[in-house]
């Protein structure tokens, strides 16, 4: 059964159960209204009988003293003798009390019923929201399985192909050099993917170990820019570094490097930019790292989602972006673990984007 069909089936069941519960609540209210009417009719009948009894008594003893009539009337506290007409009537306050009692019960059940219906509706919304979220998570996980399988198999396939090429073909030294470079890139990619997977797993288990020591971030950022420069040059993208010298912070070097590498790598591969800027600024209590591009931009509704674990735009078959949906998730989580935050700013389609990491000068 597809996820959509599963969600639809559950929603039909929840809706049916809710309708039954609402119908039951409505029945309670109607039943109480009827009960109120029945109670009033019975009390009315009782009063009529009491009036007949009193009037019969008064007719049978026309000469009775007033106190004897009063003694008889004490047995029927809801009745009184009209002084003007001398007839027996129901006391107005007793009528009002009966009316209040009947309507009070209806009001009570109507308000309790309404509260109950609201509770059911809140339950339905919650169940729907949970089921939808569950379906989205399943979809993300399925995307992740496909993506990670692709991400691991691609460099393995490429390495395999390179090895078979070495075996099958006679290559000149230049061709051999290119092949070895390709193999090195494939190994690096494979290593990175496995590393990201392990770190994501450590994060999920709450077992991420940080080694926070004073670092010169200017040097780390310069190294990263230097590493990526030839790749940007190869793709014809201008890479510009605006690094404040000697920015110091107590942080975890390897995790900082992963965050930075991910952001620069994203700008290189996915931003479709012509110019990328890497900026480092030191503030009194924090440091700001920005990777700014003039590429395709990121729609506002994706600003938070792109940092979710396993999130990849484009579904299972299409690859709007490479990767397994772990890179930006790790950036956000590492930044938070280091006491800072990571986020994106983008004015939308084709208006570029800026990824920002803010870290405290002294973590912990």
């Amino acid at each position: 059964m597809s996820r959509h069909a599963f969600l639809q089936r559950n929603m039909v069941i929840v809706t049916l159960l809710s309708l039954i519960a609402i119908a039951q609540t409505a029945w309670w209210v109607i039943f109480q209204v009827q009960e109120g009417r029945r109670l009033r009719a019975e009390q009315q009948f009782l009063w009529e009988q009491q009036i007949v009894l009193m009037e019969t008594f008064m007719e049978a003893h026309p000469d009775s003293a007033v106190f004897e009539v009063d003694r008889a009337a004490q047995h029927f506290p809801d009745l009184l003798i009209d002084e003007k007409t001398g007839s027996v009537v129901v006391r107005p306050d007793a009528r009002q009390a009966l009316k209040d009692l009947a309507y009070g019960r209806v009001r009570m059940f109507a308000s309790e019923g309404a509260f109950f219906v609201l509770l059911i509706l809140a339950g339905v919304v919650y169940v729907y929201w949970t089921a939808r979220r569950e379906a989205q998570n399943e979809q993300l996980q399925s995307n992740f399985v496909h993506a990670i399988s692709h991400e691991l198999r691609t460099p393995v396939s490429s390495l395999n192909l390179s090895l078979e090429t070495l075996e099958l073909r006679s290559l000149d030294s230049e061709q051999q050099k290119r092949l070895l470079e390709r193999m090195s890139r494939d190994l690096q990619r494979l290593n990175d993917q496995i590393d990201y997977l392990m770190r994501a797993q450590s994060l999920a288990r709450g077992e991420l170990h940080l080694s926070v020591v004073p670092q010169n971030l200017s040097v780390l950022v310069e190294e990263a820019v230097h590493y990526y420069s030839p790749m940007f040059e190869h793709k014809g993208i201008e890479l510009h570094a605006d690094i404040e010298p000697d920015v110091q912070a107590a942080t975890d070097g390897p995790h900082f490097a992963i965050m930075l590498r991910n952001l620069i790598d994203n700008a290189l591969k996915h931003a479709e930019a012509s110019r990328v800027q890497v900026i480092l600024r030191g503030k009194p209590n924090s440091v700001h790292i920005e990777v700014r591009d003039d590429g395709r931009g990121i729609p506002h509704n994706l600003h938070r989602r792109i940092f979710q674990r396993f999130y990849r735009p484009g579904g299972e078959d299409r690859r709007s972006s490479q990767g397994a949906g772990l890179g930006l998730y790790l950036v956000r989580e590492f930044a938070q673990t280091l006491g800072g935050r990571a986020y994106v700013k983008s004015e939308g389609h084709n208006r570029g984007s800026t990824f920002i990491i803010e870290l405290p000068r002294n973590h912990g």
Binding site: H146, A147, S149, H150, R153, T154, P155, V156, S157, S158, N160, L161, S162, E164, T165, L168, R169, Q175, R182, R185, D186, G314, E316, D317, R318, R319, S320, S321, Q322
Partner: protein, 231 residues
């Protein structure tokens, strides 16, 4: 001639595309690399190559979408899927959309070259003049293998390339039993084990050409052996 044949490599992974290109060019093919599904569709429709090596997980349009849209437009270029997607459903989907073969990553280079040659050979076999003639008649039916058309009691029908290929294999072995493996080998690939695909095509052919598909006169089943064509 093999050296004149053109292969379009649709692969977004630069390293893999480079390696494939290098090796296929070393085998004498002319290669072009495209890394995006939409650009691949455009390329195939404007100037169809002799073979397309197609990844599934691509930017733009997926490999499945590429195959579907190309076939929809009546382009019969042979397509060999080369992808990390390795479930049975994926393979069946790829072949059902009109793929000629399906290989999963990681792959053996020798096997890939073998399959490329086999796909091109099958294509060449179908393009060559059939010994039985381009047009055959049997019963009240007429089939034109070149035009992919048939005229039956139901009127004029458009046949798919695979339907024509299966029918042609059976007709070329008229009166003899053709087993499923031979059909698979001739029309798809010997590696591809999904006889369900063959059975579906046979059912469709019977629906077109038999007055009573439950008791076929022309495309007969030989229990445990395969199929036999009789005029």
């Amino acid at each position: 001639m093999a050296e004149q044949q053109r292969i379009l490599i649709v692969e977004d992974e630069e390293n893999l595309a480079d390696g494939l290109r290098f090796n296929l060019e070393a085998e004498g093919y002319r290669c072009e690399v495209v890394g995006d599904g939409n650009r691949a569709i455009e390329r195939i429709l404007t100037d169809p190559p002799d073979l397309v090596l197609l990844d599934v997980m691509l930017p733009g349009a997926s490999g499945f979408e590429v195959c579907d849209r190309v076939r929809e437009r009546g382009v019969l270029v042979p397509i060999l899927f080369l992808t990390a997607r390795d479930t049975e459903d994926d393979r069946i989907q790829g072949l059902a959309l009109g793929g000629d073969d399906y290989m999963t990553k990681p792959f053996s280079l020798r096997e890939l070259i073998g399959r490329v040659k086999a796909v091109l050979r099958r294509e060449q076999w179908y393009r060559s003049a059939p010994p039985v003639g381009d047009v055959i008649t049997f019963g009240t039916n007429r089939v034109d293998f070149n035009a992919f058309k048939a005229w039956t009691e139901q009127g004029e029908l458009d046949l798919t390339q695979k339907e024509c290929m299966v029918l042609r294999v059976l007709v070329e072995h008229e009166g003899k039993v053709v087993d499923r493996d031979t059909l698979l080998d001739q029309v798809w690939s010997s590696e591809h084990q999904y006889t369900r695909t063959i059975d579906n095509i046979i059912l469709r052919l019977r629906k077109y050409f038999e007055s009573n598909p439950r008791k076929p006169k022309h495309i007969q089943s030989v229990y445990g052996a395969g199929y036999r064509f009789v005029r």
